[in-house]
Amino acid sequence: MERLIIQATEDTPGIDFSLETKEFKITGRSLPEDVTSFYQPVLDWLDQFEASSGNQCTLNISLEYFNTASSKLILDILMKLEDIHVEGKNTMKVIWTHDARDVDMHEAAEEYSELVEIPFEIIGT
């Protein structure tokens, strides 16, 4: 499977999903004008990933800001990974890193962790 890399911009996050390193990364800021078209390649990539098996992967999220429309798409990604994890062919883990002082971001991460049945670690740095 080809690695998915999208460079970060001032209003879109950096995406780096690799089956080779078993690491999926979302970093930076997410406030695109059109969230659906921005995140479509990510969801397409996960559809392909779903067909694979025997992988233990980690989704690393480290976002400084995201808008409400992105918040919906992040949930879609997490729910997709939950399906994959529950199916059992691949196992998933989420590590959400945020600035330790950012209580709003901590709460946002907690709310996601309550919604999906995947091992979920929240780290304030």
Binding site: L31, T36, T68, D104
Partner: protein, 183 residues
């Protein structure tokens, strides 16, 4: 119409008295929004305000500006443009937007704001989670979460008012949020 120097002086003195950080009126495209966010962020950073307050302002500002960009239209008759203002007061920062709005959606918008204004933090949290779960991204790219998020992040009630533009289709809609300096 000719802009008299007296009107110009009035604009200047209002901006001064109100301690405006940023005032913008015109088209609200994504590129303009990015520029406004960058400017506000740098200005707030250099003014040395608390990091958390700065993040809250940024977050609320994104939602308010994108709200306008997603729902803006031009009322040709009145020529009313959308506007955004960020001012710094002694105890808080105030963000205000104004934009023409179709009269037939006003009652819906008002009831959505009233609903979040009547909720406490815990109720807002639950409402946000439920709405997000049920949400579908709309044609204009919204998730229907903007007002809930603004209420949560600002921790204050959302104020709003509508003014007549003398049109039978559009009114002018103003929205105000406050972010306290000490949370």
């Amino acid at each position: 119409m000719n802009l008299s120097l007296n009107s110009f002086k009035q604009i200047h003195s209002i901006m001064n008295e109100q301690d405006a950080v940023l005032v913008y009126s015109g088209d609200f495209g994504q590129d303009i929004i990015k520029s406004m966010l960058k400017y506000a962020e740098e200005k707030l950073e250099s003014s040395g305000i608390d990091d958390l307050v700065r993040r809250k302002i940024f977050n609320v500002m994104v939602e308010m500006l994108q709200n306008i960009s997603k729902h803006q239209f031009v009322d040709d008759k009145s020529g009313a443009r959308s506007i955004f203002i960020l001012v710094e007061k002694e105890n808080d920062f105030q963000l205000i937007t104004g934009n023409p709005i179709r009269q037939n959606i006003i009652s819906d918008v008002k009831s959505r704001i009233d609903r979040v204004n009547n909720m406490d933090d815990e109720e807002l949290k639950i409402y946000y989670k439920e709405t997000r779960l049920a949400s579908r991204i709309s044609e204009v790219g919204g998730a229907g979460l903007g007002f809930i998020d603004i209420a949560r992040k600002s921790g204050n009630k959302i104020e709003f008012e509508t003014f007549s533009l003398g049109s039978d289709q559009y009114d002018f809609f103003t929205l105000k949020t406050r972010i306290n300096k000490n949370n």
